[in-house]
């Protein structure tokens, strides 16, 4: 079987099989189990197929034995630099093989040599599409630290936490995989086009769906099993009680992945989901080191999380740092608390921003930089 693994024709046959109307991945898995490989499926007679599938589907395969369309499609994919992976492929991630319904065909954009990395330790990051500034900052911080330890960051390319985690990983020159709920060529959400290009360059973009397949409501939950499948652990940053992120968590639990949840305030609706997870037994993480220790077995070192070092600051700067946190504070409130006057306050804020101690998530509002 090995000799059949990665040649052109095998690819064509996989494309052929996956594009037959009515044939889904359950059918393909079933056929492969009984007939061994795609070559045998293609050469199987109607009688054999009818034994394994319904008459209708067997008929459908018989009728579509011509490979011209699949060849043209494969040429086009190769032309666009899109790789396809199927379970028999040597680069197919081992972790994915062991999940329920592993994808029978994965379209991948990115550099081929990066494919090996898929088997490294990975964390899937999920969370709200409309996170609070706090959630965003914490998500960025956790993901950044994980990426710094060469842990792969897997996420779903959606707005909010997904995008934040991809960006944070890229910022730390880490490896990130975006698993799309749409076709591999579809940039959704469209404003993430820059991110898309960057991930294509430095990470991998992956989808179960063909080139220009438009995302539908049902594709995202199905896609989530790949995110959890590729990961060794799943980090839930900020999720509401009925968040879609929890679907990924469910898949992860089924697949035996560790669940990490970042705790939030109990009355805060935006972290109700994560808090519930902790109640149900997810691992409560309040530092990225918790995850690193759990996954890599590295020694936990107590570390100052936010740069609280006030010594290198002037007393006035320290005064301002003192009234900031991860919740945005409006400039008027800073002026009121520090009594420094507007002109003075603005210049100190400017200096602190320059020193990367604080940030303005929105004009006029400030938070500490972590």
């Amino acid at each position: 079987m090995n000799s059949l693994e990665e040649n052109y024709e095998t690819g064509v046959l996989h494309l052929w099989l996956n594009n037959i109307e009515g044939i889904n991945l359950k059918h393909i898995a079933h056929l492969k189990k009984n007939l061994g490989n795609v070559w045998n499926i293609h050469s199987a007679g109607k009688a054999v197929l009818t034994e394994l599938l319904s008459e209708e589907l067997a008929e459908s395969i018989q009728r579509n034995k011509n490979l011209d369309y699949a060849r043209r499609l494969y040429d086009k994919l190769l032309d666009k630099g899109i790789t396809i992976l199927y379970p028999e492929h040597s680069y197919y991630p081992v972790k994915l093989k062991n999940i329920h319904f592993p994808p029978q065909l994965l379209y991948i954009k990115g550099k081929r040599e990066k494919l090996k990395k898929l088997n490294n330790t990975s964390v899937g990051v999920v969370g709200s599409r409309n996170p609070s500034t706090y959630g965003r900052e914490i998500g960025r911080y956790f993901t950044g630290e994980l990426a710094d330890k060469d842990i792969n960051i897997i996420s779903g390319f959606a707005r909010g936490i997904d995008s934040v985690s991809h960006k944070a990983a890229l910022d730390k020159e880490g490896f990130t995989v975006a698993v799309l709920g749409s076709g591999i060529n579809v940039v959704y959400p469209a404003q993430n086009i820059e991110l898309y290009k960057q991930i294509e360059e430095e990470g991998l973009i992956m989808s179960e769906y063909g080139m220009d397949f438009q995302a539908a409501k049902w594709t995202f939950p199905i896609r989530n099993r790949i995110i959890s499948g590729l990961s060794d652990g799943i980090l839930v940053v900020e999720a509401r009680a009925k968040s879609g992120s929890l679907i990924t968590v469910d898949h992860g639990l089924e697949q035996g992945r560790q669940i990490y949840a970042i705790p939030g305030r109990i009355m805060d609706k935006s972290c109700e989901g994560t808090n519930n997870l902790i109640k149900q037994g997810a691992m409560c993480v309040n530092a990225p080191e918790d995850i690193i220790e759990d996954l890599l077995g590295e020694e936990y070192k107590e570390k100052e999380r936010i740069n609280n070092d006030l010594t290198e600051l002037t007393p006035q700067e320290a005064k301002i740092i003192d009234c900031l946190g991860l919740e945005p504070v409006y400039i008027d409130d800073i002026i009121q608390r520090t009594c420094l006057g507007i002109t003075k306050t603005i210049s100190i804020l400017y200096m602190l921003e320059e020193k990367r101690r604080i940030r303005q998530p929105v004009r006029g509002y400030y938070i500490l930089q972590i």
């Binding site: 409006y330 002026i335 004009r363 509002y365």
Partner: protein, 513 residues
């Protein structure tokens, strides 16, 4: 017999001299009026004939011809009734004891011979006094307005009969003269003051800078921050009006008939806040005979556009030219009219349709909705705004805290001295304020030290600004330095300018609080 009476018409915001000529001759009894008249002036014929009869003057069955010259100017409005009536009477042979060549006559007549007030008296009378006409006859209600023209001898009357007796010399009344020597722009006390608004130090500071350098301002943020309240008080920190400015404003309001008869001279900077349903003609002026629009009414004052994205796209686009040129020119088939429009634009808007962004906990809009909403403000319009500020609603508990807020008077003194510095600096140029600085003038008037130069380089790189964006920051920094009385821009000024800058984009990718 021939006679001539001087009157005046309004063109744009200025008066122009009109001669009303009458001729009474033998022939078929007729009353003919010529001279490019609008229908409201043509109707004057009927009013004059009836008013003359009811005032006790007999109209002989003769051929009467009236001409209003120059004949190439279209005459509008009702102010010609009285001069026509007088011209007819003079042509019929009553004798005048006063010099009709030095007297301008304006007024509308009722059928009973009573005089009625008209609009636009000040620009007409003002034009006349500049051209050597020293007496004026107006309806009693217009006397105060006419008397604003310095040196004009104003005579006010209630009826046509009184006017005729006056020119015949049998009814001598003293003229009202205003020499304006004692003019000080004492503002009528309406109780508005910056101190009325609690807190909002940043917003107040932004407005102070805006007022000092005539920078246009855009405020964003949820409702309840006091945006409209402060905008309304902005005129109280702007420099006091000079007499010439007062006259300019009063002329405009006179044309629109918006003068208060008790307080004719407008001594307060205008604050105009048109509703967002306004048409573009309502905003910039228009009509068959163009009348000034809101931007002209806001001349020398503040034009406040609340809910900016709700204004029609057209209305906002027509603002571009007047924001640049500080006047609006409206062309019609027969002539083109120029209205002054030197106003400070203050706009306010929510960042999203639901009004709660950047409070992500409350905002229900999608990023696309927010982007579309903010996209309604076109780039060229944004380019003309120097200051943008995000404001935060005041929490309820802070509303009742007793604090010592700065009075408008104190802020105004700083603004006035900053303006003086600018006027002194730009005395050789065609500009008055920092906000009007353009490319070559920036090079000429603004020199940066080594530190400051480096700071701008950093800002340019970090904030991904356009050249235009950097210029806006430089102009703002110049104003802030002027407020402080500094000759050179220092790093502190640049920092503050950067804070108030118009970054050109409001919606920071997916961010909120």
């Amino acid at each position: 017999m021939f006679s001539k009476v001087i009157s005046s018409a309004v063109l744009g915001v200025d008066g122009t001299r009109i001669s009303v000529e009458a001729d009474v001759n033998d022939g078929l009894p007729m009353f003919t009026m010529v001279g490019y008249l609008s229908s409201s002036v043509k109707e004057a014929g009927e009013r004059v004939r009836t008013a003359l009869k009811n005032s006790g003057y007999h109209m002989p069955p003769k051929r009467i011809t009236i001409n209003l010259s120059p004949a190439d100017i279209r005459k509008e409005g009702s102010g010609f009734d009285l001069p026509i009536a007088l011209a007819v009477l003079l042509a019929l042979g009553i004798t005048s004891q006063i010099d009709m060549d030095k007297t301008v006559v304006i007024g509308e007549l009722g059928l009973d011979g009573n005089l009625k007030p008209v609009t636009g008296v000040l620009p007409r009378v003002y034009h006349c006094i500049k051209n050597g006409i020293t007496n004026c006859i107006v309806p009693e209600e217009n006397v105060k307005e006419a008397a604003l023209a310095p040196g004009m001898k104003v005579y006010g009357f209630h009826t046509l009969k009184e006017v005729v007796e006056f020119i015949q010399g049998s009814n001598r009344i003293p003229p009202v003269i205003n020499d304006m020597a004692d003019f000080t722009a004492t503002e009528t006390e309406d109780g508005l003051d910056f101190a009325d608004v609690k807190g909002q130090v940043t917003l107040k500071r932004g407005m102070e800078i805006g007022a000092a350098g005539f920078h246009n301002i855009l405020m964003t943020g949820a409702a309840g921050a006091g945006k409209s309240m402060l905008a309304k008080r902005l005129p109280t920190i702007m420099p006091r009006l000079t007499f010439e400015e007062c006259i300019d404003i009063t002329k405009i309001y006179s044309i629109r008939g918006l003068l208060d008869n008790n307080n004719v001279l407008i001594t307060k900077r205008p604050f105009r806040a048109p509703h967002h349903t306004i048409s573009n003609h309502g905003l910039v002026g228009g009509g068959v005979a163009p009348a000034p629009g809101e931007i002209t009414l806001a001349h020398n004052g503040v034009l406040f556009l609340d809910e900016l994205p709700e204004f029609s796209k057209n209305a906002l686009e027509v603002l571009r030219q007047p924001l640049e040129d500080r006047y609006i020119s409206i062309s019609r088939v027969n002539s083109s009219y120029i209205f002054p429009a030197d106003f400070m634009l203050v706009a306010a808007m929510n960042q999203c349709p639901c009004g709660n962004y950047p409070n992500l906990g409350k905002c229900t809009c999608t990023p696309n909705e927010i982007r579309r909403y903010q996209g309604r403000i076109s780039g060229p319009l944004m380019d003309r705004i120097d200051i943008t500020m995000e404001v935060k609603p005041i929490p309820y508990k802070e509303l009742f805290v007793e604090g010592s807020e700065e009075k408008s008077q104190v802020i105004r003194e700083r603004v006035e001295s900053a303006r003086e510095r600018q006027q002194h600096r730009y005395k050789d140029e065609n500009i008055l304020f920092n906000s009007q600085l353009e490319g070559s003038l920036i090079k000429k008037y603004i020199t940066l030290g080594h530190d400051e130069e480096n700071m701008f380089k950093d800002i340019f790189r970090q904030m991904e600004l356009s050249a235009r964006g950097i210029h806006r920051i430089i102009k703002l920094a110049r104003t802030i330095a002027d407020l402080e009385g500094a000759d050179h821009i220092r790093t502190g000024h640049i920092m503050e300018a950067t804070f108030f800058r118009n970054s050109g984009k409001m919606y920071d990718k997916e961010m909120g609080i």
